[in-house]
Symmetry: C2
Subunit: 257 residues, 2 copies
């Protein structure tokens, strides 16, 4: 595999730092190639500004359009094109972060805001003019896995846990971003109890990490529905005949029969 490992924690001595080194070491031992975007170490700027697109202030900035134009003209900021080069190289992405307010740290959210621009990760059309997204698109063929640490106990992130089920919390990232751009998404790895972890807990999670990394090329992705596969109508609403009782996130997973 060619793995791009994106990680976002302010403290290298953290649990996230240890698991990152553990994972990279394991993948290298197994003969895979690894590149890392350690966003804190890079002091990555997460804030979209006109400068991303070499856009001047004399006209109104429309973010999606400006991205398309900058990709076409080759005028994207160099820190964005550097990430594009890594993404184009990789066949597999690891997205690792501590769960802050039930989402990504801002530095990582902004990596997606700035790097997944129009013309690169969305706004791509086929010869018939159909938008290629949700299972198709410029990044199709790659796989991704989210690794997320949380102070909470595992049950509280389960199907009826108060914090919300993990796949629901990650739906905007796993479905709305990665799958939107065409990337197959493997089930996430949750590192729970992060603030109270002893050596036994660490060994447990490090072992789970190695096992999931070993399985990366073979694991079944989350069965999200394809936009252009016939399940959605022209308003992009799930057809009434398909699982008519389902609403919400659950409606967008294929039910295996």
């Amino acid at each position: 595999m060619k793995v791009l490992w994106i990680t976002a924690h302010p403290e290298p001595r953290s649990l996230n730092g240890s698991l990152h080194r553990e994972g990279v070491g394991y993948l290298e031992e197994e003969g895979h190639e690894i590149r890392t975007s350690d966003l804190y170490a890079m002091r990555f700027n997460p804030v979209v500004t006109p400068a991303d697109f070499s856009h001047t202030e004399d006209t109104r900035l429309i973010v999606g359009h400006a991205g398309q134009e900058a990709v076409r003209e080759g005028t994207l900021a160099p820190d964005i094109t550097a990430e594009h080069e890594k993404l184009s190289w990789a066949d597999t992405l690891i997205v690792q972060f501590p769960l802050w307010w039930y989402g990504m740290p801002a530095i990582l959210k902004g990596w997606f805001d700035r790097v997944f621009v129009g013309g690169f990760a969305f706004g791509v059309r086929d010869a018939q003019g159909r938008q290629l997204r949700y299972g198709e698109g410029a990044l199709a063929g790659k796989r991704a896995m989210v690794i997320v640490s949380a102070g909470a106990r595992e049950a509280s992130l389960g199907p009826r846990g108060i914090n919300g089920e993990l796949n629901d919390l990650l739906f905007p990232l796993q479905h709305g971003t990665l799958w939107y751009a065409g990337i197959d998404v493997l089930p996430p790895l949750l590192v729970h109890g992060a603030d109270r972890m002893d050596a036994v807990g660490y060994a447990f999670h490090a072992n789970a990490l190695r096992s999931r990394l070993k399985d990366l090329p073979y694991a079944d992705p989350l069965p999200f529905r394809h936009q252009n596969g016939g399940d959605y109508d022209d308003d992009l609403v799930l057809r009434p005949g398909l699982d008519p009782h389902l609403t919400g996130n659950a409606a967008h997973y294929r039910v295996e029969s």
Copy 2:
């Protein structure tokens, strides 16, 4: 009302900029007090670093603990305490943003990461040692409403729309952040079709905005369950007798009988 209006768009000439000015003008006409955190105009730094907590590099940074300690010692960074002062003043919050990758722009996510620190927005306990969160906490008694613009059509953000239902996409913010900190959350206002809006569309949304702002003090909040109200067990899992068929986000709304 005393309204803190938080907004996050890089372009003042945008639809978000127009609706922001429209809303502030309306509230002022109605005699309310308004303060604004326009995060792009403030060049707000969204990245949590040790400097937020006056934390030095000789010991490991544990973000939650460092926040608690800095609140206690009065050593938080001044740009964070400035936002705390506004939050303490306000009885009502407006959180306005364009939906980027089905979530908040990084500059706004980082406002919550940095401003909603331990000891201020979470990690507060009552005399019995119970964590006050999900309906209780230091910010209880305030109300909030999310205003979100999206290029997508309305149906695609509906119950079976491909992008996910809006309240599910906003669950980490509305439930996991605002309600977690004790704040009552009103139903969000969706400004759909944002990239294709003509004067008629703008008038429609401006009118909807004024109507929702007028209703702010009276509208029923989303009926999220209280953590300490008896609905959850000691593992913070919804008790089996309550709506036993429900899983996912839907389980955390009280069903009115």
